[in-house]
Symmetry: C2
Subunit: 326 residues, 2 copies
């Protein structure tokens, strides 16, 4: 069977089955990041690869490539509630590229890392046919504060930080070469994303958050991942899903379906999480203190699957989103 | 200027200048691995990317690719004297590949990691035009035991573990499609390398080793890197450089120059190090206890450059070896 028939999820499942888990390994393959016990803390580590032909829309600048490479990795740490310690990058580049490109790329990585309170500490340069940027981020989390995908319990509430759909709408705009005027915030959300590192730490410290994931594959796909890993049922109210204000205007203007961006579009890097009901107000206030918002979008129940209520009717939410090899 | 004109070393120097160094960063860009202070220890992290078209000789199996990806990363940790905690991999694959390839690749990673006393704990799968394997390894070292490239001092002795030249000779044999009969150990050294993790820990704990690097670019290039980073002069005696026994037979049989493999061929993954003279015998015995050998090949003096004595004459050793974009 070819990779394109199997799909990314089946391949990750295969890798999870094959790889033996060491005695210190608290979280192995399959979560946002790996976690390894060291003393009372956990070392948290993650890696993400960006391939030019697949991950960068036309005319992406080296600085934007750099920022995305920083953000995709830090976002995985944020989803575990970890404090970043550093970033390392392996970069594959065609030999005919200009040195200026590397300078702008590295400077972009340095700036984006520092904006998130961390640093680029090492790397490796190689020749390749197309631009490939593979990053790894590592950080620490207190063992009992570590956030995973598998802790959601029946009775929890489901919440998400920020507002969704902007990055995917921005990508749509770029790919269809629509005029950016009036929609610059959407393009910026796509090209200049931000990882929710502070928000992740707030969630971890609250003591009330039971599971977390970053919204990279799209809300629907990420809801499914949390529900599956936690072995519970999710019920979401469509009316409560926070949308970026420009998304509604954009879809109305061009005749798109908002769900394609808000439910099935990814790369917003917001944090989707479940929380004990009695902790919700505290979490919301703690987020507010770091300048962040969060909205309740549903609740966790016994059972399995992800359901969405739209105008009083409940239906199954398709498990559809960004997946490689599909 | 194009990357192919600048060369890898200039690019690394550029990155080192650009990236700001955080307060906890003990070792940043430019050494074998990065080191970050956490409590009394150092977190040590490294990344290395392998690109199929450049790093894998014809008919390399998925298991061999996997092993190399594990070893290049663990070797960097070994050169810092760190104990590995885990490995993570970002793998880019063409979508038309068979699932069986991924299965063999991941299994190979798991086996090779465990042979070195560590585990694969996470990763990322992406689509790319050619096979790209980017690994990151992380480990811990006691702060005062951390081995770097910059500690060699005048009066130190220069030593290297094991015997050199086998991996490069094996690569030569594969690329020129020469018969492997009688030379299987050379091919194995190329395709099934091993990282000197135990040796690195022995050197770190000895208290007498002043600088270390793993022999990946070739002895000459790695001597130059140590001498440059430590701001000292190296003088090496060619007659004392330990050669793999089959290398001499191989070059005689086919009319090659042994220096091309022993001095300028890389990927042996042995550890090159400098040691205080009074500690040499202790280090040698400590290595012996973990089944390793080491040979003295020269000494460190004030000044700069790397010199080699051949039949009583001393000449400058060319700073030549594996370098990308050249």
């Amino acid at each position: 069977m070819k990779l394109s028939e199997a799909g990314e999820r089946a391949l990750v499942e295969l890798a999870r089955k094959i790889c033996r888990r060491g005695p210190q390994v608290r979280i192995g393959i399959g979560d946002d990041a790996a976690a390894i016990d060291i003393d009372g803390s956990c070392l948290v580590a993650t890696t993400d690869m960006l391939v030019a032909s697949r991950h960068f829309p036309p005319r992406t600048t080296p600085e934007q490539m750099a920022r995305r490479a920083v953000v995709v990795n830090l976002s995985d740490l944020a989803a575990m509630g970890a404090k970043p310690l550093g970033l390392i990058f392996s970069v594959g580049l065609p030999r005919e590229l200009e040195v200026k490109f590397v300078e702008r790329l590295v400077r972009g990585m340095d700036v984006a890392a520092r904006e998130h309170g961390t640093y680029v500490v090492g790397g490796d340069l190689d020749e390749s046919e197309e631009v490939v940027i593979s990053g790894a981020a590592f950080g620490v989390a207190r063992r009992r504060e570590l956030l995973t995908r598998s802790g959601a319990r029946a009775g929890d509430l489901i919440a998400v930080t920020g507002r969704l759909g902007a990055a995917a709408a921005g990508l749509g705009l770029l790919l269809k070469r629509l005029p950016a005027k009036g929609y610059r915030a959407l393009v910026r959300a796509q090209l200049e994303p931000r990882a929710r590192v502070r928000e992740g730490k707030v969630l971890a410290r609250s003591g009330f958050v039971t599971s977390t994931i970053d919204v990279t594959d799209g809300l629907a796909a990420n809801l499914w991942q949390l529900a599956r890993e936690s072995k519970v049922k999710f019920v979401v109210d469509r009316a409560n899903v926070p949308e970026h204000p420009l998304v509604r205007k954009f879809v109305t203007r061009y005749g798109f379906d908002a769900d394609d961006f808000v439910l099935f579009g990814g790369e917003d890097f917001e944090l989707l999480f479940t929380v004990r009901p009695r902790g919700w107000e505290k979490v919301r206030w703690a987020l507010k203190r770091v300048g962040a918002t969060a909205a309740l979008i549903g609740h966790v129940a016994k059972g399995k699957g992800v359901f969405i209520q739209v105008k009083g009717k409940t239906r199954a939410l398709p498990d559809r989103g960004y997946e490689h090899f599909r």
